[in-house]
């Protein structure tokens, strides 16, 4: 059984007896996993490659539904409902639970249109409202100063770090309640990485954040809670400052001291 620390905050998400099996796989990739995600804080998921951390993350916005044959079991509670239910409106869910990917995913359109994309999907057409909210989102993503002169330019002309911040602006523009980060800095240089990390910490005042990372220093720097996963199971969930100093589980200790992984 996993060691799970008592979370005092309200919970943004609650994973209960969750199981996930990829299409055609013999065994589930995630096995009976229980895990609370605290509201307005950053939860980092760490663990060796293939441990299921990205699979878990992509279950929170049902990304796996884009490909046929994947199967969920158990429950993930969000706002008192099970988002794994067949009746779940995935479009609404994905507006409420946003995602940032490993590689920047700027759409082939202007910087402005990129950020306005999600709002336009929701039917917002008023030009002043769009403009105000795009600027606000760009400011919140700490990129407005760099791009304010060229909002009409193609977003693919930006650097990797700028594109990633643009994607964050695009995601927060629709005001989600949860943001999922899937190794958001693994394709970026150290300076851009520091910028994104700073942003993650700032954003937790408004959204609850789950971040998958391969980099334990990053988990230590940005997160309030850390979950260590191994072979499809959650081994330990603890307060970050405690878990990196005094892990309760032997496996966790071995992983964070670099004995395997």
């Amino acid at each position: 059984m996993a060691t799970i620390v008592d979370i005092k905050e309200e919970k943004a998400l609650e994973v209960q007896n969750f199981e996930f099996t990829y299409d055609g796989a013999d065994a589930p990739s995630i096995k009976t996993l229980n895990m609370p995600i605290a509201k307005n804080s950053v939860t980092a998921l760490i663990g060796p490659s293939g441990c299921g951390k990205t699979t878990l993350l992509r279950s929170f916005n049902r990304m796996h539904d884009l490909y046929p044959g994947n199967e969920y079991a158990g429950e993930i509670l969000f706002k008192n409902r099970n988002i794994l239910s067949k009746n779940e409106d995935l479009i609404k869910l994905r507006i409420q639970i946003g995602m940032i990917f490993q590689k920047p995913t700027a759409f082939p359109m202007s910087i402005f249109d990129n950020v306005a994309y999600g709002m336009r999907l929701q039917g917002i057409k008023n030009k002043t409202e769009l403009k105000d909210r795009v600027e606000k989102a760009l400011q919140d993503a700490a990129i407005f100063k760099e791009v304010k002169e060229r909002l009409k330019h193609d977003a693919n002309g930006l650097s990797g770090g700028q594109q990633q911040r643009l994607c964050i602006a695009r995601a927060i523009a629709v005001e989600p309640e949860v943001l999922l980060f899937d190794e958001p800095t693994s394709a970026l240089d150290p300076i851009s990485t520091a910028g994104i990390e700073e942003l993650v910490v700032e954003l937790k005042e408004r959204v609850s954040i789950v971040i998958v990372t391969h980099n334990m220093q990053q988990a230590a720097r940005v997160s309030d809670y850390t979950g260590f996963m191994y072979l499809g199971e959650l081994i330990e969930l603890g307060r970050t400052e405690e878990m990196f100093v005094t892990p309760k589980e032997k496996l966790t200790e071995e992983y964070i001291t670099g004995k395997f992984g």
């Binding site: 590689k103 759409f107 082939p108 929701q122 695009r170 629709v174």
Partner: protein, 280 residues
């Protein structure tokens, strides 16, 4: 002879042979273009564009009928072929993906691409011309549409698959429904590639003669009624070039020149788009 010397000599022989072969190939291409330009430009004049066909021996004869007929037949074929081809390619890449049905369509369309165009002409003759009782511009357009379809379908399919799946996922993650992801994100990412496919598809059918012989046939005078037989540059060129009259033969050269320049420019534009896309 040492091993190294042998290797150097072998290398030299292979390089020389392949360079000569390449030069021979290119030589023929320039030869063809040279003959076309030499004879074609000589035959070009204003009356080519302003006058219809006339019996041999008339000064005032031109290719206006064939130019307009060609544009109408190819234009209508493009109007049908492009949307169908793009939609079918979209089905393959975005909906069918690796399913059995999609893979079967891919295989059949590859076979269709290499089908002799005269067979397509005979097919359209059997299903359109014979029941109608006469040749028509429509029948020509239908034949060209069938030839164009697999080209556009496969390029669209290939180009859409080149759009990274993370871009689609990012759009879905913002709450976009599938059709909006395809239209607003995937199409935009593949714009240059799809346009290239369209241009190459049009260029391919614009040079077809055999299927038109069976379908739109020919007319030596201007006709804009698609229900009737219609002139085209290719069939007109064939008729004029094989005639014994010198003035008709000159018109045949002019037709060949205009047609080649049209297809050459479509190909060049298509390749420029493709290069720009790769350059990114």
């Amino acid at each position: 002879m040492t091993h190294t010397q042998k290797r150097i000599i072998t290398n030299y022989i292979v390089m020389t042979l392949s360079t000569i072969s390449a030069l021979i190939g290119i030589g023929f291409l320039f030869w063809i273009l040279g003959v076309l330009i030499f004879n074609g430009i000589d035959a070009l004049s204003w009356t080519i564009f302003s006058q219809e066909g006339a019996p041999p021996g008339y000064d005032e004869s031109g290719l206006k009928h064939a130019l307009i007929g060609q544009l109408m037949i190819v234009g209508v074929a493009t109007l049908f072929g492009v949307p169908f081809g793009i939609l079918a390619g979209t089905y393959l890449s975005e909906y069918g993906q690796k399913s059995k049905l999609a893979e079967t369509i891919r295989d059949i369309s590859d076979i269709m691409m290499s089908a002799p165009s005269i067979v397509i002409g005979a097919f359209v003759y059997a299903i359109v011309v014979a029941p109608m009782g006469h040749f028509s511009g429509w029948a020509g357009s239908i034949a060209l549409t069938i030839i164009m379809l697999p080209i556009i379908l496969r390029t669209t399919d290939d180009m859409l698959q080149l759009v990274p799946s993370t871009l689609r996922e990012a759009a879905f993650a913002l709450g976009a429904p599938k059709y909006k992801v395809i239209i607003q994100v995937v199409y935009r990412g593949a714009k240059a590639g799809i346009l290239t496919g369209v241009l190459l598809g049009v260029a391919r059918v614009a040079g077809e003669t055999a299927p038109l012989l069976f379908t739109s046939f020919n007319d030596n005078f201007l006709n804009t009624d698609m229900m009737e037989p219609m002139a085209s540059l290719t069939v007109t060129m064939y008729n004029y070039a094989t005639s014994p009259y010198e003035d008709w033969q000159r018109l045949g050269w002019a037709a060949a020149f205009i047609l080649s320049m049209f297809i050459l420019s479509l190909n060049i534009i298509g390749r420029i788009f493709l290069m720009r896309k790769r350059g990114k």
